[in-house]
C-alpha cells in the first residue's frame, strides 16, 4: 500500500504539472532551450497576393501569458485600422490574420505553420515569448517568411535567421538612467537592495545591468533577493531586505509579481525609492499595487508620453477606446505592423506588389524591412543587418497615482 500511495502521488504530481503545462508558462524573455521543430513547411508559395494584404499576428490569446499577447494584439489592431484609414499600401488595405500561440512552443509552431501555409501571410508579428520564438521562428526562416518580434527581448532572437527581426529592445541602456534618476531625487541614497525574477532570462540580464549601474554609482549593494515570476508572496524576501535598511530598491520582474512586491514592500514599511525594470512598464501593474505604486520609477523602452506625432495618434486612439494609457507591448506591436506597412509601401513603389509571387514578395519585403527607417510610437527605429532594433529613445517614468488610488499614469521624467 505504501507503494500505492507513492505511485498515486507520482501520478497526481504529473497531473498537476500537466495542468500547469496547459497554461503555458514562462515570460516574454525566456532563453532558448528547445530544439526547433523539424516539421516540414511548404516553402513553395507562388501565388500572388490579391485583395487585402495579409499580415500574420501570432500572439498568445490564451494561457497564463495571454495578458501580454492581448496587449500586443490591441496595438496591432489599432495599427491596422489607422493605416487602412490612411490608404493602406498605396490604396490596398492590409488585413491582420490573428493566430493564438497560447503560452507554449507547440502553440507558436502551430500558429506559424497555419499563417505561412494556410493563410499565406506576407509576414508575421510575434510570437509572444522569446522561448516560443526560438522554436517557431526557425519555421518562418526555412519558409523565408519575415518575422518581427514585438515582445521578444532575449539575447539571440535576431540571430535565429535572416528573416527574423524585432522591435522589442533589450533596454540595456535604460537601467543606468533610472538609477541616475533615483539619485537625482534622493542624493542621500547609499544602500541598495535588488530583487529579480530568476526564472526569467531577461530579468536576470536586466538585474546584472542594474547591479553594475549601482556599483558604478558608488552605491552599496546590501542584498540581492530572488523570486519567481509565478510567486505571489514576498514577505520573506521583503523583510530580509527591509531589515538591511536600504535607501533604494530595484525590481526586475513582470507586472503581477513586480506589482505585488511593490505592494508588500510598502505595506511592510519600506519608504525609500523603488525602481521597476522594463517588465513593470505596463499599466497592468497599477491594478496590482494601486495607491502603493505611487512614486515608483520605471525603466521604459516605450513611453506613452513620447512626443512624436504617430505616438500621439496611437496613444489617443488607445485612450479613447480603453480609457487608460497604452502598455509597452501595445506600442511595440503597433510599431511592428507599421514597419510592415511602410516597408510594403516602399516595395510597392519599386514593383507593384500585387504582381509579385508570394515567395518573391516575402523575400523582397524582408530586404526592405531591414533597409528602412521608421518613425514609430517608440521613436525613430531602424534595424541592424542581423535584424535587431536600433532604438534611439529610452525613457524613465514615474508612476503618479490619482487620489482614488485606482488609476494612475506613467509621468515621463527623462
Amino acid at each position: 500500500m505504501n507503494n500505492a500511495i507513492a505511485q498515486t502521488t507520482a501520478l497526481l504530481s504529473t497531473c498537476a504539472l500537466l495542468l500547469t503545462g496547459c497554461g503555458g508558462g514562462g515570460s516574454v524573455t525566456n532563453p532558448p532551450n528547445s530544439t526547433p521543430n523539424n516539421t516540414t513547411t511548404n516553402t513553395a508559395q507562388t501565388t500572388t497576393t490579391s485583395g487585402a494584404i495579409p499580415i500574420g499576428i501570432a500572439l498568445a490569446q490564451t494561457s497564463n501569458v495571454a495578458l501580454l499577447g492581448q496587449e500586443g494584439f490591441v496595438g496591432a489592431r489599432i495599427a491596422e485600422k489607422y493605416f487602412n484609414s490612411k490608404g493602406g499600401i498605396n490604396g490596398t488595405p492590409i488585413k491582420l490574420v490573428p493566430q493564438d500561440t497560447s503560452g507554449d512552443e507547440a502553440g507558436a509552431i502551430n500558429a506559424f505553420q497555419t499563417l505561412i501555409n494556410k493563410d499565406k501571410v506576407v509576414g508575421i508579428v510575434g510570437p509572444t515569448l522569446s522561448q516560443q520564438a526560438f522554436s517557431a521562428d526557425p519555421i518562418a526562416e526555412r519558409a523565408k517568411v519575415p518575422v518581427i518580434g514585438a515582445s521578444n527581448t532575449a539575447n539571440g532572437i535576431p540571430e535565429i535567421g535572416d528573416y527574423v527581426a524585432r522591435v522589442s529592445s533589450p533596454v540595456s541602456i535604460v537601467a543606468p538612467n533610472s538609477v541616475k534618476a533615483a539619485l537625482k531625487q534622493n542624493p542621500q541614497i547609499k544602500k541598495v537592495a535588488v530583487f529579480y525574477a530568476q526564472n526569467d532570462a531577461f530579468n536576470k540580464s536586466e538585474t546584472e545591468i542594474f547591479q553594475k549601474a549601482v556599483k558604478e554609482q558608488g552605491l552599496e549593494l546590501v542584498t540581492v533577493q530572488k523570486f519567481q515570476t509565478t510567486d505571489t508572496d514576498f514577505q520573506a524576501q521583503a523583510t530580509n531586505a527591509i531589515n538591511l535598511k536600504p535607501d533604494l530598491v530595484i525590481i526586475s520582474g513582470l507586472a503581477a509579481d513586480g506589482g505585488n512586491l511593490v505592494r508588500q514592500l510598502r505595506e511592510l514599511g519600506y519608504k525609500g525609492i523603488i525602481i521597476g525594470g522594463n517588465g513593470l512598464n505596463t499599466p497592468n501593474v497599477l491594478s496590482v499595487c494601486k495607491a502603493l505604486c505611487d512614486g515608483v520609477l520605471i525603466a521604459q523602452a516605450y513611453s506613452p508620453e513620447y512626443p512624436g506625432e504617430i505616438n500621439k495618434v496611437f496613444r489617443q486612439t488607445y485612450i479613447d477606446q480603453y480609457k487608460k494609457e497604452p502598455a509597452q507591448f501595445t506600442g511595440q506591436s503597433f510599431a511592428a505592423v507599421q514597419v510592415y506597412v511602410e516597408a510594403l509601401k516602399e516595395l510597392d513603389k519599386k514593383t507593384k506588389i500585387s504582381t509579385l509571387p508570394l515567395d518573391k514578395l516575402r523575400t523582397e519585403l524582408n530586404k526592405q524591412i531591414l533597409a528602412g527607417k521608421y518613425n514609430t510610437p517608440l521613436g525613430e527605429i531602424a534595424f541592424t543587418p542581423v535584424g535587431d532594433v536600433i532604438q534611439k529613445e529610452f525613457y524613465v517614468a514615474q508612476i503618479k497615482m490619482d487620489k482614488d488610488g485606482n488609476t494612475g499614469k506613467f509621468v515621463f521624467i527623462k
Partner: protein
C-alpha cells in the same frame, strides 16, 4: 541566526503556511470522504476570488467577454466573502454532479476522477479567461477598513513587521480548522461523513444518504477553496485565471506531507511547508519551492502515509 531574524522568518513561515493550510483543508476533506483528489480545487479557489471581487463592485478590465462589466451593487468585503465562497461552494456541487457522480455510478477507478477533475480545472480556468480576461485584479484598499498595513512584533530598533492581512488569514485559518474539526468529530453530519468515508455500503445500510453527504462534502470543500482564494487575493491580488494553479500544486504537497485525508495533517503540512520556505537562505530564495518538494519526496520515502496519516494495512 540573529533572534530577530529567526522570529521574523518564523512569523513569515506561519503566515504563508496558514494560507497553504486553509487551501489544503478543502482538498483533504474530499479525499478523506471519497478517497479522490480533486485537481479542480485550485480553479475553484480562483473562482471564489473573482466572485468576491465582482460582488464588491469590481470592474472587469477590457480583455474578456465581460469587459468593463460590473455588478450594480457594491457589497462590504465580509458579506461579499461569504457570498462569493458560497457561490464557489455551489459550483463545487455542480462540478460533483457533472464530473464525479457519473464516474462514481459506473464504479470507475478513482484515478479516472483525477483525470476528470483535471479536465474540469482546465475548462474553468479557460472559461474565466474568456469571460474576464487575463488581467490582475486587486480588491479595494479599504477591504479591511482602516487597519494599519502591517504590525511590528519587534522593537522600534529591531522591527519584525508582518502584514496585517497575513495575521487575519492566520486567524481565519485557525478558526476554520477549529470549526471543521468540531463539525467532523462532534456533529451528526460530521459523523455521518466519517461513516461514509469508512464504508459507504454499510453507511447506506444504516440509513445514511451517501449522495447527500457527498454533495455536502463538495460544497464545504469548494466553499473553503473560495474562502481561501478570496483571502489570498486580498493579500496579493488576483494574479489572473491561473492564480490558483500554483496553490493547487502546493496543496498537493501539503496534504501528502501532512497525511492524506487527515485534517490536522493538512494544517500541520501547510504550516511546515510555509516554515521551511521561509527559512530557505536568502541566496536560494528563488528555489524555496524546490526545497518544499524535496522535503515531500524525502517524506514519501521515510513515511509514505505522511506525518499524521494512517498506515494502510492490507488484510489477507
Amino acid at each position: 541566526m540573529d533572534i530577530t531574524l529567526f522570529l521574523q522568518q518564523f512569523l513569515n513561515g506561519l503566515s504563508i503556511g496558514s494560507i497553504y493550510a486553509i487551501f489544503a483543508l478543502g482538498y483533504t476533506l474530499v479525499y478523506s470522504i471519497l478517497g479522490i483528489i480533486n485537481l479542480a480545487h485550485g480553479a475553484i479557489f480562483t473562482l471564489g476570488a473573482y466572485f468576491t471581487y465582482a460582488l464588491m463592485g469590481g470592474n472587469f478590465g477590457f480583455n474578456g467577454l465581460l469587459a468593463n462589466a460590473a455588478l450594480p451593487i457594491k457589497l462590504p468585503f465580509a458579506i461579499a466573502l461569504i457570498l462569493g465562497s458560497t457561490l464557489a461552494g455551489l459550483i463545487g456541487v455542480v462540478m460533483e454532479r457533472v464530473a464525479f457522480q457519473p464516474l462514481r455510478r459506473q464504479g470507475s477507478d478513482p484515478l479516472l476522477t483525477v483525470v476528470s477533475s483535471l479536465g474540469v480545472a482546465v475548462v474553468i480556468v479557460n472559461l474565466i479567461q474568456y469571460l474576464v480576461g487575463a488581467e490582475s485584479y486587486t480588491y479595494p484598499a479599504d477591504t479591511y477598513g482602516n487597519l494599519p498595513p502591517s504590525i511590528n512584533f519587534g522593537t522600534p530598533e529591531k522591527e519584525i513587521p508582518i502584514r496585517t492581512v497575513q495575521i487575519i488569514i492566520f486567524a481565519v485559518s485557525v478558526a476554520i480548522v477549529a470549526i471543521i474539526t468540531y463539525f467532523i468529530n462532534r456533529t451528526k453530519y460530521g459523523k455521518a461523513m466519517q461513516a461514509i468515508a469508512e464504508d459507504p455500503t454499510t453507511a447506506s445500510l444504516l440509513g445514511i444518504n451517501s449522495d447527500r453527504f457527498i454533495i455536502l462534502t463538495f460544497f464545504i470543500s469548494s466553499f473553503l477553496a473560495g474562502l481561501a482564494g478570496t483571502l489570498v487575493a486580498s493579500s496579493v491580488s488576483i494574479a489572473g485565471p491561473y492564480f490558483g494553479i500554483a496553490f493547487g500544486l502546493r496543496g498537493l504537497a501539503v496534504i501528502v506531507l501532512g497525511g492524506l485525508g487527515s485534517i490536522p495533517g493538512a494544517v500541520l503540512g501547510g504550516l511546515l511547508i510555509g516554515l521551511v520556505e521561509a527559512f530557505v537562505p536568502t541566496e536560494y530564495s528563488g528555489y524555496k519551492e524546490a526545497v518544499a518538494y524535496g522535503i515531500l519526496f524525502i517524506m514519501l520515502l521515510v513515511r509514505p502515509q505522511g506525518l499524521l496519516g494512517r498506515r494502510f494495512i492490507q488484510k489477507v
